[in-house]
């Protein structure tokens, strides 16, 4: 399934792929809102019930920010794509698929911090690292495909752009793997710091590493 159809399908417009991706990402970004519900319990216990849900709020915020970063990257990359073939569609499906796992991994982590013991925290950190690494792998495949099929990209995109982006994705994948190992075998907080730092890094560099210097200079 992961092959290029080329030929007949070679120069489709990107409009429907973007519209479909927008709709899927809109659903994913609001998924954790579904977990925000009036807490049950005795009359008089509302405040305590609301406060006890703090990991749900935290999970909503972090997962929302992360999916926002994915959307910004998605938009920045599709601006550089002229046409989509079947292989690139499947690479795009891969990104949407792994992004859809983020709210789940975030909710599991938030719950483990609240209710679980040390073993649960290590499990949750491992799951989150796995999903993060899968997300990076799906971006890697996307960039790799575009590096190998330059006829799909806009003409003003530099030849080195997508290979560089592919490296950015590799680095992310390695860092998630390291965070997972450190979190499971050394200390959970180290993993947490890496988890929070990575989307910030990807958010700042959503126009590619090339844009980093100018982005930093504008901070």
């Amino acid at each position: 399934m992961g092959m290029s159809a080329g030929g007949e399908d070679g120069h489709a417009d990107t409009g429907r792929a973007e519209a479909f991706s927008d709709a899927v990402l809109a659903i994913i970004i609001t998924l954790l809102v579904l977990d925000l519900r009036p807490p049950g319990g005795e009359p008089g216990g509302l405040l305590r019930g609301l406060l006890r849900q703090w990991p749900t709020y935290f999970a909503y915020v972090t997962s929302y920010v992360y999916v926002g970063v994915v959307w910004l990257n998605h938009k920045a990359m599709f601006r550089r794509i002229r046409s989509i073939d079947r292989g690139l569609h499947w690479a795009n499906f891969g990104i949407l698929f792994t992004t859809a796992l983020l709210p789940f991994a975030t909710a599991v982590l938030a719950r483990a911090v609240e209710h679980g013991n040390r073993a649960d925290e290590r499990t949750a950190v491992g799951l989150y690292a796995l999903v993060g690494a899968l997300l990076c792998a799906s971006w890697w495949a996307f960039f790799h495909y575009l590096s190998r099929h330059p006829h799909l990209t806009e003409e003003d995109v530099e030849e080195t752009f997508f290979p560089t982006e592919r490296t950015r994705a590799s680095v992310g994948g390695v860092l998630y793997a390291v965070a997972g190992v450190l979190g499971c075998f050394v200390a959970v907080p180290i993993a947490m710091v890496i988890f929070l730092a990575l989307p910030v890094f990807y958010g700042v560099t959503s126009n590619g590493l090339y844009a980093l210097p100018s982005a930093v200079s504008r901070m």
Copy 2:
């Protein structure tokens, strides 16, 4: 993350941001429909079960109207935007994020009025005021960003337009804070009246305060 990317990304079209916002707001506006479910209970108890759900209906109506007002404002503002940079994307994400909290705050308030005691009502009023104030703060940030980056707006937008809108958002934020304090420490119904009045005010002035006289004259 909250910085202007400028440069390379500076003059993107607004199409995808609008499509994404439409999808997110469509999900938010229908969120409380998910709470409308056939009531359980004994055969013969359907009518009583349906009537007992009245706070859910009330929450659906008010949250629907409020999100409708947000959508109208969103559309009216994006008509005045020529291009979006990363900072404005994050300001837009902020509006969608806080709007997504409205159905939750509304459901908590509806439930507190039905099941809770006085303490619960004060808590729920405080939560609703907090979400309302956050929503105003996110619009404030959006208008502030546009005031500072006039190159992002359409050329026929008057220079004073977005500063005036920013003031409109400030007033809303202050009123939500006042409503929250009055509701928590004086009387819950006062807060309720302010809560119902504010979206009506924003609905009537969705084209900006400038449009108010003509809007009123047409009522």
Copy 3:
């Protein structure tokens, strides 16, 4: 809120209103799919469990067809609209709001037929008739607004088109009221027949009563 903004906002494009409506209707049409879940129960009881859910399947089918009819009507009407002002936006919100109640009313009716007694069936028939009448009322308001604001419609729309559509909506509202009364006080099956007949009627005439003769001749 139900007033024309006119002036500044008078000639907005209809693109975002259509995109937003499409997204909302897409959510509504799939709402009852969320109720299709693997039945719980003992090993070996799957077939019985699946068959016992038949009212859920029936509700999904009928609600899906009805929302499909609403979408076709919505599309057929928006083809005749040139620009939207605030009043028409609220009329459109009204249609989306009442359509979103259809899956709820359908699920209540399906459940009452399965689990309820005669009193429950009458209640459910009354609720469904109420929602159907509200849906007709929202279309009535939409057509009334367009009859009074002909500058919002495309130039090739005949002057009598929207008044005729308004009549079509009135007839539907009356029939739902009659069905509700007959169902509550005479016999539930009579109401059911009217409930099933009305969307078929609206589906066949989704291009307006004018198109009826040619539609029938093509059946």
Copy 4:
């Protein structure tokens, strides 16, 4: 309802039908994500709880891939459609309707493999075969309609294209029926192999059987 409106409605654009279909398919493709939730249970039991959910993950993956294939086919076919009349809208609604049943059938099958006995597995295999056959039948009706109404298709589409696609759908329907019979009366694993093979076949041939040779040569 399944008739051609022709005449007045005959040459509508396909934009809204595609946007609506994209939104519905985006909801369907993410439906099984809603089943990915932090497992409950005692502190320390997270890892076991997560592993025990494997049929849910498997169901998410397979249903996601299948809906992805449907989307690709949908996009490939709509590229060949010039205008839509009412009959084709209903054929399209039929495809979306049956596709929306896929996550349900997949979840039932996954659950039967995990929790059920042999009778449950046969039931679930029968349900999945039924939904698969319905999906093929809805595509068959879609292609049949286009074969009979060539004025709706783009001019460069070969006359034999849609009849050939119709045959492709017939073959799928027969194979699902065979898989259902074999799975219910002979052996469940045979049916499973056919279930997994069919979306792969449709994915590879999403540009039609004509495109198969070139697609295979590129694998």
